[in-house]
């Protein structure tokens, strides 16, 4: 009963964190396609890091809770935070131009840093719950809702992949893009 309760709590935390990260990535896509904001190279690297975080959570849900999956989440979180911090540093001085439209008073790269740090701290806290690793049958039974969650993640990644190909091709992305290559 106790193990079951812990397991359900862990699943809930994972789904919440996953939905948070996916909504940020979805919002970035809305900014890109609806508001015609072409992402810079650092913005794309942050998206890559956020996808890494989502991948770690999805692996935990699909294959059961393992420290190696949490390692993926934390490494991706640190990577996202470092890239976001670099972009914040580029625009922090007075007189330097900022990049993109602010959301609730903060730019998307600042939100990206905040979310990455929340993910790193929260994941470090939940990976310390030892009981989750004892059960050998902590894998998820896939139903249509879980398949839907996996499908949304995959399609979002596919959309970003296509958009990156259209923006940069197979070359290095420009720091301040003004148009799509294709």
């Amino acid at each position: 009963m106790y193990k079951n309760k812990i397991w359900r709590w862990e699943i809930f935390c994972h789904v919440m964190e996953l939905l948070g990260v996916l909504s940020v990535l979805g919002l970035a896509c809305i900014f890109q396609f609806a508001l015609q904001e072409i992402p810079c190279s650092l913005c794309l690297l942050q998206r890559l890091g956020l996808f890494g975080i989502a991948l770690g959570f999805l692996m935990n849900l699909r294959f059961g809770f393992r420290p190696s999956h949490y390692a993926i989440v934390i490494l991706s979180g640190i990577f996202t935070a470092l890239v976001a911090l670099r972009q914040i540093a580029l625009h922090i001085l007075p007189g330097t131009q900022d990049y993109g439209i602010p959301l609730f008073g903060l730019h998307l790269y600042t939100w990206s840093f905040i979310i990455a740090m929340i993910v790193v701290v929260f994941t470090t806290l939940i990976l310390g719950i030892d009981r989750q690793y004892f059960s050998t049958t902590n894998r998820l039974i896939m139903n249509k809702w879980w398949h839907g969650l996996f499908a949304i993640s995959f399609l979002l990644c596919l959309l970003n992949c296509a958009a990156t190909l259209a923006e940069c091709g197979f070359y290095k992305c420009p720091a301040d893009p003004t148009h799509y290559l294709l």
């Binding site: 996808f51 499908a151 995959f154 290095k172």
Partner: protein, 50 residues
């Protein structure tokens, strides 16, 4: 950059299909690519500033 996204998409697809063995090496490859691109970005801007 596009290669990193292609490999990430592959990792998502393999997770969905349930093939665990190759996902972790693919992820570390993507992370390596991302780190390389990040360092390239920093050094390019630094060389312009200097």
């Amino acid at each position: 950059m596009a290669f990193a996204f292609i490999f990430m998409m592959l990792a998502f697809g393999l997770t969905w299909m349930g093939k665990r063995q190759v996902i972790i090496p693919i992820f570390y490859l993507v992370l390596l690519m991302g780190t390389f691109l990040f360092i390239t970005d920093i050094t390019t801007k630094l060389s312009i500033q200097l």
